[in-house]
């Protein structure tokens, strides 16, 4: 799993490659957590575009969808589901791509991530995907962001 960044038209783009969805081992939902979205991405109170591309297919169509999760901790010790579905249906049996959005409107959290999940169909093998997420670039002052006030 490798993460890269780019800035395009005032948006900050995070690409995570080779997210592996393991074999569902029968009719089980399988999930894969994307990496924590970069702190230069302004996710809070935004509709967040993303794109997912299957790069290695499995034999079963797990109808991959995505949800947005947030947490107060970087480790996502307790994760809150902010938007439970992007309403997409990515077929992991072929090399294809979908785009969609997840909504963080009305929510402010310090840490965000996108989670891919299947519909419990037997995926009959592992598959991998690349996940691209976009948000406005925010030039955070990290010294303030991580400041613990004494007053």
């Amino acid at each position: 799993m490798a993460t890269t960044y780019a800035k395009v038209n005032q948006q900050f783009i995070q690409v995570v490659e080779d997210l592996t969805i393991t074999d569902s081992a029968g009719a089980n939902v399988v999930t894969i957590n994307g990496t924590v979205l970069n702190r230069y991405m302004d996710i809070s109170d935004k509709v967040v575009p993303f794109e997912a591309e299957i790069t290695e297919a499995s034999a079963g169509d797990g109808a991959i969808d995505f949800r947005l999760e947030a947490s107060l901790t970087a480790a996502f010790t307790v994760a809150i589901v902010i938007d439970s579905t992007a309403g997409v249906d990515l077929d992991p049996t072929g090399l294809n791509t979908v785009s969609g959005t997840l909504s963080a409107v009305g929510f402010w959290y310090p840490y965000w991530r996108v989670v891919a999940f299947t519909d419990a169909t037997d995926t009959v093998d592992d598959s991998t995907l690349d996940l691209t997420v976009v948000a406005p670039f925010v030039n955070r002052n990290l010294s303030l962001l991580e400041h613990t006030s004494v007053r």
Partner: protein
């Protein structure tokens, strides 16, 4: 299809002429996509105005409307509908003009475009349109596009 830009006060006017809508060949929805909206057009998070003018008529009234699409890719390989309708109803049988709005509130996409579409009525011939978009002007930032050399991790 040719596009021009005009800065008007704090507004940025983007006009695309000769958008050709093909014959619907019966009762089919037909669409035509405008050019990618320029970087100077501040679309993110805004409601903006559009005007559509029929410059070449067809024989059937396709009740032309417009939608806003966003994409992560400049090629619009996987566009997502940001606003499904401008709520306009342009009669494609006459040389007339309508105005409406499209909303990108809460949305932030690298690339946007407007797509004209009919309601599935037989348009009974090809037709052509001029599409004008009025948004806030924003300072060009293309030079800031980059794959950062510094680490954002």
């Amino acid at each position: 299809m040719a596009s021009t830009n005009t800065a008007l006060g704090k507004r940025y006017i983007f006009t695309t002429e000769a958008l050709a809508l093909a014959d619907s060949a019966g009762a089919n929805v037909v669409t035509v996509a405008g050019d990618t909206l320029p970087l100077n057009s501040d679309i993110d998070g805004n409601i903006f105005g559009i005007t559509i003018e029929c410059t070449e008529v067809c024989a059937g009234d396709g009740a032309l409307d417009a939608r806003l699409e966003g994409s992560i890719e400049s090629t619009f390989a996987n566009p997502v509908t940001v606003d499904a309708s401008a709520g306009v109803d342009l009669d494609t049988t006459g040389l007339n003009t309508v105005s409406g709005t499209l909303s990108a509130v809460s949305n932030t996409w690298p690339f946007y475009r407007i797509v004209l579409f009919t309601d599935g009525t037989d348009t009974a011939d090809a037709s052509a349109y001029t599409l004008t978009t009025a948004t806030l002007y924003r300072t060009p930032a293309a030079h800031r596009n980059s794959t950062p050399a510094r680490s954002y991790a």
